[in-house]
Symmetry: C2
Subunit: 349 residues, 2 copies
């Protein structure tokens, strides 16, 4: 084994040990726990070099080493081995997923809960990105005078709806006329290509007075626009309090404070998703300082993609301390993702 190889083994050992013990790891305990065929003095030299390379660091002079953000990065990119879950672990996750759920949103919530429970971390699920999916049906139903329900069916059978205000004296027949023309002309159009103008042209031939028409169109438009809004479910925030990493109240405060702004988190996940290079089944991992959200400096994000049909996708993942068992967590996310995909196929098939 070359010296370089050994240094990497040392880094790997440091990460592994630190993740399990949460104690800075020193040369002596490293020798004890792993069977390096060299002395502690040699490891000390290696560690000094790893530190020079910026992969590990000391909390203070006379302490052991902990991985730096770059150290974790190296570990995740090159050293870590992701192994399969055991049958029991798979079984455990499967049990938590309710196979009777028939609506995507509920399914995602359920999966999120399952993920947070099995990892003991914060789980994160983004609702599907629908902007690019197309409108297959659109119905405007009269609820009562002045109030209607816009129901949209999108690609892959996703259903969205919204209650809207309409002119009081619009009759059900008029509404149906509008609804039918809009549906006819928008059918198959991607959501993000629909504009107020598209809508207006679609009803040119109806005989309903413009003043009435306009409000209905505008409300319908907002309903369509709202349909592709991204929601995020965060679950298990309280798990973070159990971790020694957040036993300092201030850290916990700032972490949970930030996580409470789910819009910000959603925005961030969406952001990094755009920068993603690999395929749908790869992982986005963001470590420590790489995360551009206040209060998450000591955290890592791991997210991946689930799919609804061929085109629609969303994200699922976890937020945990930098010091987490990346390998295990990744395989857990992977299995949950697999379950989601499977069940969605089930629903749509």
């Amino acid at each position: 084994m070359s010296v370089e190889d050994r240094k990497m083994k040392v880094l790997q050992a440091i990460v592994d040990d630190y993740v399990t013990t949460n104690e800075p790891v020193g040369s002596k305990s490293l020798i004890e726990r792993h069977n390096f065929p060299v002395s502690s003095a040699t490891l000390r030299n290696d560690m000094a070099e790893l530190e020079k390379m910026g992969l590990i660091e000391k909390p203070h002079t006379s302490a052991g080493r902990i991985p730096s953000d770059r150290g974790y990065r190296e570990y995740v990119d090159s050293l870590m081995t992701v192994d399969q879950l055991t049958e029991a672990e798979r079984e455990d996750i499967s049990k938590r997923i309710d196979t009777t759920i028939f609506e995507a949103r509920d399914l995602l919530k359920n999966a999120s809960a399952a993920l947070s429970e099995t990892t003991g971390l914060v789980s994160l699920v983004m609702t599907p990105r629908l902007a690019g999916s197309s409108l297959l049906q659109l119905k405007i139903l009269m609820i009562e005078p002045g109030k209607a329900l816009v129901v949209m069916v999108l690609s892959a059978g996703v259903v969205k709806d919204k209650v809207v205000r309409i002119p009081n004296f619009l009759t059900p027949e008029q509404l149906k006329e509008i609804s039918d023309s809009v549906e006819k002309s928008l059918n198959g159009k991607p959501l993000d290509e629909i504009t107020l103008v598209t809508l207006a042209t679609s009803v040119k031939e109806t005989k309903i007075p413009d003043s009435l028409l306009n409000q209905v169109l505008y409300e319908t438009y907002t309903a369509i626009k709202q349909a592709d809004k991204l929601d995020v479910f965060l679950e298990g925030e309280h798990n973070m309090l159990k971790l020694p990493d957040f036993s300092e109240l201030k850290r916990a405060q700032s972490l949970l404070g930030t996580l409470s702004h789910d819009g910000m988190v959603a925005g961030y996940v969406n952001e990094i998703e755009k920068e993603k290079t690999g395929g749908d089944d790869t992982y986005m991992i963001r470590i420590g300082q790489e995360i551009a959200l206040e209060g998450l400096e000591d955290c890592s994000f791991i997210t991946t993609t689930y799919k609804i049909g061929d085109t629609i996708s969303g994200n699922i993942g976890v937020i945990g301390p930098k010091r987490m068992d990346y390998s295990k967590v990744i395989s857990q996310i992977d299995f949950v993702r697999y379950k989601i995909n499977e069940q969605i196929k089930n629903i749509n098939g």
Copy 2:
């Protein structure tokens, strides 16, 4: 002022002081802050008696006194004066409430956020209790073969829907036939009086084969039953970490752990709502040990009722430390409740 009266004044002063300072309050500082026309020794005697009565207690021998649960109860029931919010405070809350929201659920979420921000505590909003409200419309819309949307309009214009599975080869016409008969016969019926049998009799006269019919009926039934499910929104859990009352990690852990089970919290609120004696605009206050939820021994619940129309109601309130400014919080809840009621009237009117 009689001796008894003074003792109550002393209790009141102790609660007030303790709420603001979070320090056990002693006889001397009591004299300093309030102008009791007696000496500290007299107050010491009074305090000894209040302690005998179980209204205050000592954390340890040589500390000041803090209110006991019963002390808070006495304070809340008889001593506290609830005063109006200032114009600025009202203004602040009003600003946080988005008046463009048109759907009850969103409105409630928004109000919940507003309440949590202004109180700095955890806000709690229950979705409306719909079990007793009646079904005004019911439509089953075909989404794609095998999949339909059940849309229900309830009293006061509340809309609920659910995607359900239907037999693959059921035609839109058949579905419409079922939908129409069901709607016709259920029209005006309270949700909780609808059973599978009611549904079955409503479609007796259709010519659709039973095998097809049964699945649709069953799914419709589950949709109706699911419509009156109570949800609860908790917001601002992270605020609790800022309070000195939960600076001990263990308390914070167990509190947030329990709050993460929102089903349990919802169940509990529903429970105490049933026991409620006063009118709709009264407050339910539960203090410390009175709360039958693990981890909330140091908390108080304050809830009240908002209304949708004349019959439908739900709860809104906060969860905070026992040591909170009851008077202020109550007036804040009250104002948010007022805003909700007002805006719902707006929507429905």
